[in-house]
């Protein structure tokens, strides 16, 4: 039970920190949230720099150009990225964390050659086409149809919650290739070029007013058969290769940012007045912050425990659901606390009177998605109770 990073880890940290201290300020501030062209170039520019410095694909195998870092090096990486407030992975998210790893695991040599290096260096942007209006928590109920027509599939249907669709070159697309099979057994995984004919992208406005997600309508879109990853009708298995990445260390940076956020709330509480004194003087407020801190430290220890477990067994720990569940609900509690602290300034989404309304409200609104996306809290509780605790499944209707 050793929490000490190795000498090699600390050397990696020192080197990375020095690099980040130079490069982060040099990369400038992120563009406006709605300016997709600039966002793409900002995010891919950063990815390119990571790539050139050897920090891209931190968990990717070396043979695919990745860093192949140990799990503890990955923790160091996420700690330093968060500490340096480096650019968010942004439009590279789907490619680096889902698409690329899936191709590495399941793609043909040609598919790998065509995509993997360019995802890594930021040249290819991917989006995700999994969810549908009728297939959310029940993802396997997806209905987007792909009919085989000679050398291609003819795809018709509608996807929703496609992140970065506007900026993307390719989409990891789940389609139904056998409508008669049981629902998990008729799905295939396709590489959809986003410039194909018949694709219509409609931005989906989130409750925070942003357009990071889109609905994608597919009308007679032709996708070459060679773009299928894995066997026909085996896409559910291929998908689960991908889904697994969503429950690993992907939240690591966000967790450390949340620790920074709590420290920022302390600063704020010293500037905000309550009952004629700085809010920080209020013991209830301080205890809440102390409580958040205890939970965050425990969460980070939980990540380390889980990572060390994975590192030993080679498979992600089952505890990922517990981490995700706890993290997302804790985040929401902290974000709500931030709004309370703002007082009347909460009425403005712009900073006002020197108070950071913009960031705090943004966080509070975005946090609402955390208990929904990537397996809702209810789904996580089902997973924990059935897969970890071995409780009997509910009777099916």
């Amino acid at each position: 039970m050793d929490l000490r990073y190795s000498k090699a880890d600390e050397e990696f940290r020192a080197e990375l920190r020095a690099w980040l201290e130079k490069e982060v300020p040099a990369h400038g501030s992120p563009p406006a949230i709605s300016d997709w062209a600039k966002r793409r170039s900002y995010d891919t520019g950063w990815q390119r720099k990571l790539y050139e410095a050897g920090y891209a694909g931190i968990n990717w195998p070396a043979e695919y150009g990745g860093r192949d870092a140990s799990l503890t090096e990955q923790l160091v990486y996420y700690e330093e990225i968060a500490r340096a407030r480096a650019p968010y992975i942004g439009v590279n998210f789907v490619g680096i964390l889902h698409g690329g790893p899936t191709l590495i695991a399941e793609g043909t040599p040609e598919q790998k050659a065509r995509h993997v290096p360019y995802i890594l260096n930021g040249e290819q942007i991917w989006c995700q086409g999994f969810s549908e209006p009728g297939a959310g928590s029940d993802l396997a109920a997806l209905q987007t149809r792909a009919e085989k027509r000679g050398d291609h599939y003819l795809v018709n249907g509608q996807k929703i919650w496609c992140s970065f669709a506007h900026a993307a070159d390719y989409c990891e697309l789940l389609v139904r290739t056998d409508p008669d099979a049981p629902k998990h057994r008729g799905i295939s995984w396709l590489i959809l070029p986003m410039d194909a004919d018949g694709i219509e992208i409609r931005p989906l406005r989130t409750l925070a007013g942003e357009g990071e997600f889109s609905e994608v309508f597919l009308n007679d879109v032709k996708v070459p058969i060679e773009n299928r990853v894995g066997e026909e009708n085996d896409g559910w298995r291929v998908t689960n290769v991908t889904l697994r990445f969503e429950r690993g260390t992907a939240f690591a940076s966000e967790m450390i940012q949340l620790q920074q956020y709590v420290r920022d709330l302390i600063d704020l509480s010293k500037r905000v007045e309550r009952n004629g004194a700085p809010a920080w003087k209020d013991p209830e407020l301080r205890r809440k912050i102390g409580h958040f801190s205890a939970e965050l430290d425990a969460l980070w220890a939980m990540v380390k425990l889980s990572v060390c477990q994975s590192s030993k067994t080679g498979v992600p720990g089952l505890g990922g659901s517990a981490i995700k569940l706890f993290y997302s609900e804790l985040y929401q509690r902290i974000a709500e606390f931030g709004i309370e602290l703002l007082g009347r300034a909460r009425l403005s989404r712009e900073d006002v009177a020197g108070l950071p309304s913009q960031a705090l409200l943004q966080r509070a609104m975005q946090s609402l998605s955390l208990t929904i996306a990537a397996g809702s809290s209810q789904i996580q509780r089902n997973i924990i109770s059935e897969r970890i605790l071995g409780l009997p499944k509910e009777p099916r209707p």
Partner: protein, 333 residues
């Protein structure tokens, strides 16, 4: 005692509900985004009696009580009716033209712990601004105010200006009036929060009945059912507290009005906020969109939670009430 809605109150409720359902469908709210106020709709609200409801008949009002007003404001809250409704209603007795909707009145409550920054709701549409201080009530000409518009307000239906300075204004009264207005404002805001809690609950129940996943309506899953049951409980707790506050303001003989209003604000504020959050969760991804109106409920709840005293302030004041009450009177229980 008849704590039920009277027949008159039931018709009042049905009337306002039907008006709001007709006049404030979600499409209208979308059109009102970043404006909030519409002169024609305001005139109709005035016609309905929203502003002069509690004004004596002799003064051209309807002469009803706070128990009736909470019913009306719960319906307004439920349909997210925007505008400085509470302040104009409070001003009916003080500012000529407020009661019949000719004068649009907003306000600033500077009595509580949450005063700064000086953000005024709906300022662009206001004629007059009422300012409550612990020992005074004053009225300011809204057009003369030096204020910066906030480009992106939290609630798209509640535009906000940041006031650089606040002129003295005309005095309307002292401590007693300030307390009375604040108590009524607190109660009516609680009623709006009750309406929001109800709207979130209704929307979530409806969605849970219709939305299917895993081959069943999601509302047949116990996990979802129990979320909805807890929403119902919060809603009914809030309803009881808000109705009680309304009745107590009308008849201080039945209890301590400040205590009733504070309790209502506290429980209705939580009900609105927690129900909006739960409604988002029940909706899954759709709850995270702008399209489904639950985000308006959440944002409005956040706004209303900050007016006429926040949760901490009321909780503290209530503790002092109970402390003073420690000799346990029988009838006020």
């Amino acid at each position: 005692m008849d704590f039920q809605l009277s027949e008159d109150q039931e018709s009042l409720q049905a009337g306002v509900r039907s008006f709001c359902d007709g006049h404030f469908p979600v499409e209208t709210l979308r059109e009102l985004e970043y404006r909030g106020y519409d002169a024609a709709l305001w005139a109709e609200l005035a016609e309905l009696g929203v502003f002069n409801l509690r004004l004596a008949e002799a003064e051209g009002g309807i002469g009803l009580g706070t128990a009736d007003a909470v019913i009306v404001f719960a319906e307004l809250g439920r349909r997210l009716v925007p505008g400085p409704l509470v302040w104009t209603h409070l001003a009916a007795e003080l500012v000529p033209g407020a009661g019949d909707g000719k004068t649009v009145v907003g306000g600033l409550d500077l009595c509580g712990a949450e005063r700064e920054p000086l953000l005024v709701e709906h300022l662009a549409d206001l004629d007059r601004l009422i300012v409550l201080r612990p020992d005074s009530v004053s009225c300011v000409d809204a057009s003369a105010l030096n204020a910066e518009p906030i480009e992106v307000p939290l609630d798209p239906l509640t535009p906000v200006h940041h006031l650089a300075e606040l002129p003295e204004g005309e005095s309307l009264g002292g401590t007693e009036l300030a307390e009375r207005l604040r108590l009524a404002g607190c109660t009516l805001a609680s009623a709006q929060l009750l309406g929001l809690a109800e709207a979130s609950h209704e929307l979530a129940v409806e969605y849970a009945k219709g939305r299917k996943q895993f081959g069943r309506a999601i509302g047949s899953f116990q996990a979802v059912k129990h979320i909805l049951a807890d929403m119902f409980v919060r809603l009914e707790v809030a309803r009881a507290a808000v109705y009680a506050a309304g009745a107590t303001l009308d008849d201080p003989g039945v209890g301590d009005a400040a205590r009733a209003a504070g309790s209502a604000k506290l429980v209705a504020g939580e009900a609105a906020l927690q129900n909006a959050r739960a409604c988002i969760q029940v909706h899954g991804g759709m709850g995270y969109t702008w399209e489904v109106p639950v985000h308006y409920y959440l944002k409005r709840s956040w706004v209303l939670a900050s007016v006429f005293g926040g949760a901490e302030e009321h909780a503290e004041a209530l503790a002092r009430c109970v402390e003073l009450d420690a000799r346990a009177p029988g009838t006020s229980l």
